[in-house]
Amino acid sequence: MIKAKNIFKQFGDQEVLKGIDFTFEAGKNNLIIGQSGAGKTVFLKILVGLHQPTKGEVWYGEKNFFQLKKEELRQVRMDVGMLFQANALFDSLTIEENIRFPMDMFSKMTLKEKKNRVDLCLERVNLEGINNKFPSEISGGMQKRVGIARAIVLNPKYLFCDEPNSGLDPKTAITIDELISSITVDNNITTVINTHDMNSVMEIGDNICFLNQGILAWKGTKHEVLESKNDLLEEFIFASPFLKKLKARALGK
């Protein structure tokens, strides 16, 4: 479980986050949604420790992240996996070397054990046999899955995904969502997904945090989205007339 307590973030004169409180639950897909510029990425980067909040705390279980000592911080970092929007796969390394990188850096496993673990992770994301290819030799969807494989290689307790579906066709996007969701449930991981893909919201949104102009404007589950009376959320989720009609039909109006 991750708790964000009263998070503020300011860049110069601009206040991007204004006192956000939210609990990200274990074994659930926790979604951060909101329009572009709402502060989603900044919030995610604060949760993962890439940005320091101007004010507020982030708790990983019983540990206050920004108060941790060096060794404790290292331990927490070992429990974190992250899938980046542009995958952030290292171009000069093969797929296997990319996935092996966190193990090479931090584990004392033998090369054979590491290779077995890479194979297992690739199998988990349905990409067996591409060990020796380079990231530029595989499709965008496959790169996302390799990114997921690298993120889960050290058996993380926390998985962060920044726009996992950006640039993907709807079918591949659903595959990625299903993959993240099954990994989350199977391993009881606290997964935090930053997205503005409505399919993701309605398919895997177990615990949703809706940001608007740096403020937590709504929270709930995918089931509660349909019946929400929050105008800002409705405007965001059902932005097109087509979706508005769909919602009306779903509610029997």
Binding site: K45, G49, V80, A86, A88, P102, M105, F106
Partner: protein
Amino acid sequence: MIVFDWLEHFGRWVVWQKQIFKKPENLGMYYKETIRQMYDIGIGSLPIVFLIAIFIGAVTVIQFYYQMEGTLIPPYYIGYIVRDMMIIELAPTFTNLVLAGKVGSNMAAELGGMRQKEHIDAMEVMGVNTSAYLVLPKVIAAVSMIPILVSLAAFVGVIGGYLASVPSGLFTAAEYIQGLRAFFIPWNVTIMFVKAVSFAFILTSVSCYQGYFVKGGSIELGQASTRAVVYSDILILLADYFIAVVLTG
């Protein structure tokens, strides 16, 4: 205010050095990266360093011959002048100015590209000390390989001088070699190595700083790469002056 900007960058650079020289997380990974960088900097730069050194040696001989022709100074002095100029000044300074363009801009572009593609963020999330892992191997590789390149440049420069003068009959091989062996001061070699190591550290450190902290898109990356070369060159020339004052004073 340019002065405050410079001071801010300098302060940030000093604080950053503390991160770079921290204990590595995994010596094996750092070792592999250092060897890769040593190959890139050392072997990768040999052709350009040789080419420049041979022409510098050749031009030095021809121009000194032109200036000294008809004077009472014996011709073998040209060999002596070329040797000392290559050792004390031309090999360390020219080699590093050229390497600032080749190696420095490459380092800035590599790190800047990694920053923009979120590779550095990805490593940070994994718990890697990216300042150390990405920069320390480059510094070690440069500080160990560039003095070797500089020594080779001095040697090749002297050969360049020979090739430009003896076959064309400016003076005899015996005169040139007599000059090379005359008035040798071993301290000059120490000066060459002090310069080589100092310049190598400057060009690596400045270039990596420009790349590591790049913000924005491809235009900013290009600007950072240019700044890496320009600032390295300026600081190398300044350091050259101070080392000359201190070590020859």
